[in-house]
C-alpha cells in the first residue's frame, strides 16, 4: 500500500509566493500610476470610440443601435479610465481564479461520479484548490458592490424609466432576470441571491465532500467512498445549472444586449481546462519536489490527456460560438466580435487566444511521450493557464472598458497578486491534510494503473 505522505508548506515556498505577491503589487501600483498619467490620451480615444461604436451600429435597427451607442457613451459619466481599468481587471481575475477553485471541487466530484481509480493519489490537490471558493465568493460580492456601476451597464436605473432619455426597451424586457423580487433599476435582488446561493452551495458541498474524504483517512472502509460519490453526483447536477447561470450573470451580463446560447458552456470549458492545467502543474511540481511517489508516467499521461482533450473541447465550443455568429451575421450578435477584432489590444488577444489555447497545446501534447513527460507538461500547462487568462480578459474587458482597455503592468500585476494568494491558500490547505488518501479503496488500482 501507499506510504503516508504529508505536504509541508516550507518557508522557501512561502518566500517564493511572497516574492510573486510583491512583484505583483509593484507592477500593479506602477500600472495604476501609468494609467493615471495617460488619462488625457485615453479620454481622446474615448470620444473616438463613441464615433466608432455609432458607425458600427448605424446599420442595425433603431433599438439596438440606440442601445449600443448609449453603452459606448457610458464612458463619459463613469469613473475615470484608470479606476475602471482596476475594476475591470479585478473582476476579470476574480472570475478566472474563482473558476480554478471551483474546478478543483468539480474535478474531485467527477472522479467519484465516474468511479475513477487512477486519480486516487492526486485527488487531494484539486481538493485543496477548492479552498479558494469562499474567498472568491466574498471578493466577488465586494467587487460587485464597489464597481457595479462601471462593470455592469444594466445596473443604471435610468435604463428602466420610460420617461428617461436613456430608456432601453431591450434591457427593460430583460430586467426581471436581474431585478425579480425587487423594483426595476433598484437593488438586483434576484441577481445577488443567485451569486450568494451559488457560492454558498458550492462551498457547502465542498465542506461536505472534504469531510467525507478526510474521515476516510481516519477510519477506512468503503462507506465514505459511497457517501462521497452520492454527494458528488448531487453536486454535479447543481453545478451543471449553476455554472451556466453564473457565466451569464458574471460574464455575459457585462454586454447586456448581447447573448449567446453557448456562453455557459464556453465559460465552463475555459474554467475546466484551466483547472486541469493547474492541477497538472501542481502535481508535476510536487513530484519534482519529491512528493507523490506513487504518481508515475501513467498518471501524468491521464492528466496530460485531460489537458489535451479539453483544449480541443474548448476550441470546439469557441468555434461553434464564433462560427454561428459569423455566418448568421446578425448585427446585434456580431457587434461582440467586431469590438474584439477591430481594436488593439483585443484583436491581438483574440488571435493569441487561439494560438495559446488550441494550436500550442494541440501540437505539443499530441504524442504519447509528450503527455508522459514532466518537462513537456511544465511547458504546456503554463501556456494553457496564461492563454485562458487572456480568454477571460477578452470576455470581460471590452464590455467594461470599450476601447480604453489595455494589457499592461496593471493587469499583469493584479494577475500575479491573485495567483500568489490562490497558491498560498491552496498550498496551505494542502499542508493541513494528508497529501495522499490513506484508506482510499481504489489506491491499489491506481498503483497498478497502466496505460
Amino acid at each position: 500500500m501507499a506510504a503516508d505522505e504529508q505536504y509541508i508548506f516550507k518557508p522557501e515556498a512561502k518566500r517564493k509566493i511572497s516574492i510573486l505577491f510583491g512583484v505583483g503589487v509593484l507592477l500593479f501600483v506602477l500600472g495604476i500610476i501609468m494609467a493615471m498619467n495617460s488619462g488625457g490620451h485615453h479620454e481622446g480615444a474615448d470620444h473616438g470610440s463613441v464615433e466608432v461604436a455609432k458607425n458600427l451600429v448605424a446599420s442595425t435597427d433603431q433599438e439596438s443601435g440606440h442601445a449600443a451607442g448609449h453603452e459606448a457613451a457610458e464612458g463619459h459619466h463613469g469613473s475615470p479610465v484608470w479606476l475602471k481599468r482596476i475594476y475591470s481587471s479585478l473582476w476579470h481575475n476574480n472570475i478566472f481564479f474563482a473558476g480554478i477553485g471551483i474546478i478543483g471541487l468539480f474535478f474531485v466530484a467527477i472522479q467519484y461520479a465516474a468511479q475513477a481509480g487512477w486519480s486516487a493519489p492526486i485527488k487531494r490537490i484539486p481538493l485543496a484548490m477548492g479552498q479558494w471558493i469562499p474567498i472568491a465568493g466574498v471578493l466577488m460580492l465586494i467587487i460587485w458592490f464597489v464597481a457595479k456601476g462601471d462593470l455592469f451597464h444594466w445596473t443604471h436605473h435610468d435604463l428602466y424609466d420610460p420617461q428617461s432619455a436613456d430608456y432601453d426597451k431591450i434591457l427593460d424586457q430583460k430586467s426581471v432576470y436581474f431585478f425579480w423580487l425587487g423594483s426595476k433599476g433598484g437593488f438586483p435582488t434576484f441577481y445577488i441571491l443567485r451569486m450568494v446561493a451559488f457560492f454558498s452551495l458550492w462551498y457547502w458541498f465542498y465542506t461536505l465532500i472534504k469531510k467525507q474524504m478526510l474521515a476516510e483517512d481516519l477510519e477506512g472502509g468503503t462507506q465514505y467512498w459511497y457517501s462521497t460519490r452520492k454527494l458528488s453526483a448531487i453536486f454535479l447536477v447543481i453545478f451543471a445549472v449553476s455554472s451556466s447561470v453564473a457565466a451569464w450573470d458574471w460574464v455575459m451580463s457585462i454586454d447586456p444586449h448581447w447573448f449567446s446560447t453557448m456562453f455557459g458552456w464556453y465559460v465552463f470549458a475555459s474554467w475546466w481546462v484551466t483547472g486541469l492545467a493547474t492541477i497538472t502543474l501542481i502535481v508535476v511540481n510536487l513530484k519534482d519536489a519529491g512528493y507523490l511517489k506513487m504518481v508515475n508516467a501513467n498518471h501524468l499521461h491521464d492528466l496530460g490527456k485531460f489537458v489535451f482533450a479539453f483544449s480541443v473541447f474548448w476550441t470546439y465550443i469557441w468555434f461553434s460560438q464564433f462560427m454561428l455568429i459569423y455566418y448568421a451575421n446578425i448585427p446585434e450578435e456580431t457587434v461582440y466580435f467586431i469590438e474584439r477584432l477591430k481594436h488593439a489590444p483585443y484583436s491581438w488577444v483574440f488571435y493569441a487566444n487561439l494560438i495559446l489555447n488550441f494550436v500550442l497545446p494541440f501540437l505539443l501534447l499530441m504524442t504519447r511521450d509528450a503527455k508522459r513527460h514532466v518537462a513537456m507538461l511544465k511547458v504546456v500547462c503554463p501556456i494553457v493557464i496564461v492563454g485562458h487568462w487572456f480568454d477571460f480578459y477578452n470576455m470581460v474587458t471590452p464590455g467594461v472598458m470599450q476601447y480604453n482597455g489595455g494589457v499592461g503592468f496593471l493587469e499583469i500585476g493584479l494577475a500575479c497578486i491573485f495567483f500568489a494568494l490562490f497558491l498560498w491558500v491552496a498550498l496551505s490547505a494542502l499542508s493541513k491534510m494528508p497529501l495522499v488518501a490513506k484508506n482510499h479503496p481504489m489506491m491499489e488500482e491506481s498503483l497498478n494503473h497502466h496505460i
Binding site: F319, F322, M323, Y326, Y327, N329, M366, T367, R368, H450
Partner: protein, 175 residues
C-alpha cells in the same frame, strides 16, 4: 522436411501467467519467438515479447495532415477560383465556413488511412487464408509459434526449452 515449406514449433500454454513467465524464460534462452496468439488480450505480453511501440500514430498524423490540406485546397480552389459564389455576403475565400469540412476530412482520412495502414502492415488482405497454428487459440489456449528457420537451436532443444517454461504440449506445424 522439404525446403520450400515453413516449419514451426508450436507451444501450447494453459494460463496467461505461465505464458508471461514462459515468454521471458524462452527469450532469455535466446530463442526467437515468431508470434503468440491468445484468446483474449494479455496485459504485459507486448513488453515481454519486446515489441516496440506501433508507429501507427505517425501514419495517422500524416494522413490527417493530408486530409487538412486536401480539404483546404479543394474549398479554396472551388469557391475561390473555379466557381466563385457569394454566400451570405462573405468573401469568396473565408476561412471559418471551411473549418467544419476541413475537420471532417482530416478525421476521415486519418481514420481510413489508419485502418488501411493497419491492414497492410498486418498483411490482412481479401481472400487471404489466415494461418492457424492451433485452432484452440480462439478458444482457451495460448499459442506460441516459433519459426525454426529463424533459430540456431535444434527442434529438440527448443522443444525442451518450451516444456521447461510451462508449455503444456509442443507440436510441429508446417505450412
Amino acid at each position: 522436411m522439404s525446403s520450400t515449406s515453413e516449419n514451426f514449433l508450436v507451444g501450447i500454454f494453459d494460463d496467461e501467467d505461465i505464458l508471461l513467465h514462459g515468454v521471458e524464460g524462452i527469450r532469455g534462452k535466446g530463442v526467437k519467438i515468431h508470434e503468440v496468439y491468445t484468446p483474449f488480450p494479455v496485459h504485459g505480453l507486448d513488453e515481454a515479447l519486446g515489441y516496440k511501440r506501433s508507429r501507427l500514430p505517425i501514419a495517422a498524423f500524416l494522413f490527417g495532415l493530408t486530409g487538412t490540406s486536401l480539404a483546404l485546397t479543394m474549398q479554396i480552389w472551388m469557391l475561390g477560383f473555379d466557381w466563385p459564389m457569394i454566400i451570405g455576403g462573405k468573401n469568396f475565400v473565408s476561412l471559418p465556413p471551411f473549418i467544419p469540412v476541413t475537420f471532417e476530412l482530416t478525421v476521415l482520412l486519418a481514420a481510413l488511412g489508419m485502418v488501411a495502414t493497419f491492414f497492410i502492415v498486418s498483411d490482412m488482405k481479401p481472400y487471404k487464408t489466415p494461418r492457424s497454428y492451433d485452432i484452440r487459440s480462439t478458444d482457451d489456449k495460448h499459442v506460441m509459434a516459433i519459426d525454426l528457420a529463424a533459430n540456431k537451436l535444434s527442434k529438440e532443444e527448443i522443444g525442451q526449452i518450451l516444456k521447461a517454461n510451462g508449455a503444456s504440449e509442443v507440436n510441429e506445424k508446417n505450412f
